[in-house]
């Protein structure tokens, strides 16, 4: 039973990883090898999928297949950076807060974290982007400003526990410098928890990046990006469904591949903790 669960977890991880690498390889090779440019406007407008255009063409006659794959690194890259920054900032701040002895700082920063977390995620990001101006850079800044607080909350709780563990006490009695203890002993253990959350957060962020572009707050045209492509083609969906459905499928594909990796890892961890 438990062995079977481990096998299933492994299977999920392999599935997710191969889905993801397939997409990344496509994102690398398709724009290089294709005879059409991602922003190349042709006279073949709204052509249905064919051998010439695998995913058809959009309103301006651009090849949807090429555009979907040229967006891979834009979407995944923005989401990756949009997770990485809050992950690192949140983990460090949360850890410091967890091991801090100053009650006043703990109270003030702690309630600030709760305050930030109180705002509905997507709404807060939309508002921040509104003030920062539309664009990929603003989206990443907005995501970081909002999301660090979620990581900080997880890290704080974890750091309180880790700080009382025997090996941290031991390191302290050995007279190691506090910064060394922090970065060698505490943060690695705290971040195992925040990194696990980052994986499921990645899915939310991929969708959020695309949703912002869909709402007209994302990348500037003509740069190919899934959310923006879906938005541009949503008006002609009855005439050319392919121009919005394929970017949507690509977005789901990316999300599902990460979801499978996350589910597989969870399954393995759950099994590990049961033993």
């Amino acid at each position: 039973m438990t062995k079977k669960q481990r096998e299933e977890g492994k299977f999920d991880i392999y599935c997710g990883l191969s889905m993801l690498s397939l997409m990344l390889v496509g994102g690398l090779l398709v724009p290089l090898l294709s005879k059409y440019g991602a922003n190349e406007v042709t006279a073949d407008q709204m052509m249905s999928p064919s051998l010439e255009h695998f995913f058809g063409t959009d309103l301006l006659g651009r090849d949807v297949f090429v555009r979907v794959f040229s967006a891979v690194f834009i979407d995944l890259g923005a989401a990756f950076i949009g997770v990485l920054i809050p992950l690192s900032v949140g983990t460090v701040i949360g850890t410091l807060l967890g091991i801090s002895k100053n009650r006043r700082i703990k109270g003030v920063v702690g309630s600030l974290i709760d305050g930030i977390n109180a705002f509905p995620f997507l709404i807060f990001v939309i508002a921040l982007v509104a003030f920062l101006g539309a664009g990929l850079g603003s989206i990443i800044v907005a995501l970081s400003l909002v999301n660090w607080a979620r990581y900080a909350r997880i890290a704080r709780t974890r750091a309180v526990v880790i700080n009382q563990q025997g090996y941290v006490e031991a390191a302290r009695t050995l007279g190691y410098r506090p910064t060394r203890i922090l970065f060698r002993h505490i943060i690695p253990n705290v971040s195992s928890e925040t990194r696990a959350y980052a994986l499921s957060d990645f899915i939310i962020v991929i969708i959020a990046v695309a949703a912002l572009s869909f709402l007209g707050l994302g990348v500037n045209p003509p740069q190919a990006e899934w959310g923006g492509m879906i938005k541009d083609a949503s008006n002609i969906i009855t005439l050319a469904w392919w121009a919005s459905v394929f970017p949507g499928l690509a977005l789901s594909w990316a999300g599902i591949s990460v979801a499978l990796i996350s589910e597989g890892l969870n399954r393995r961890n759950r099994e590990g903790s049961q033993r």
């Binding site: 999920d12 939309i126 695309a210 949507g248 977005l251």
Partner: protein, 339 residues
Amino acid sequence: MISRNLSDESLGEEISSEQQAPNKNRGELRRTFQGRILRSCIVSFWVMFIAFSLLRISPGDPIRLALGTDATEEAVKVLREKFGLDKPFLVQFYDYFTGALSGNIGVSFFSQRQVNEVISTHLPVTAMIIILSMGAAIFISIPIALSVALSSRSSSKRVFGVSTSISLAIPGFFLALLGLLYFGTVLNWVPAAGYEGEFPKNLKYLWLPALVNCFSLVPILTRVLHSSLMDTLDEEFVETGVIRGVSKIKFYWSYLLRPSLAPTVVLMSYMVGVMIGGTVVMETIFSLPGIGRELIQAVSTRDYAVVQGIILVFGLIVVFVSFVGDLLGYLLDRRVTLS
């Protein structure tokens, strides 16, 4: 040796200590309740501060941005004074804070509408979508979670785990678009545009956005409900129910669902924030006159006063709902402690 005598004193002692228990519980309840209210107030204060700061700390001058590059210095100055942006930061915050407490959260940059008026006209649609999607999510989740929890086949748990995590990865706005294409264009079940505000009539416009919106909640809800059902099934009182021979419906309700409900209710209250986010997207796609669409419009016209006001209201709603959720979870099941 174990005492054979059942002394009346010791029995009396046990019972009299019992009689104090409810009072102790009531005191404890009041204390945790007070603590939770205090925390909600502090968090609300931060919510106000953050909403306030947005307008003041944004790079570039929001007034100039709003009016566009060809605005005269004079016009900028007038508007700046009108919104008190020329005063010191803390004074501005004091004005904003006291204004907000009396229900005044600003005036639109362009139209002369009060922001709270904008919100109160558009909130019902948003609230309706959220309530409908949460209701639908509960309706869908309970049978799924129950049947998976009671199933003895390991394959059903496997299918459940994979399908919930996959469905979380499908973006709502994409699903909405597909739904609109199929139900709107192909089947003609959804009106292409327009809206009627009266209750039974508006369901015609709202059912699809609510249904799509609930799909982001169902996977999470079923997971939490499933895991607390599994915990409940391990409890000894479930066996008590079997032995008492209560009816099937009663067994499912008071021996399985009721004791498992508290974590789910608490989760639902936390998920209101996610639901609000989803609703903004749905309102835009289905062109429904809710706050979300108002927000997107305000963002595109750079009406920052409206953006700020909407943010504030949503933030406060979430704080309030999670407070109610925690309390409700506690009342439903006293084994749960308030966080």
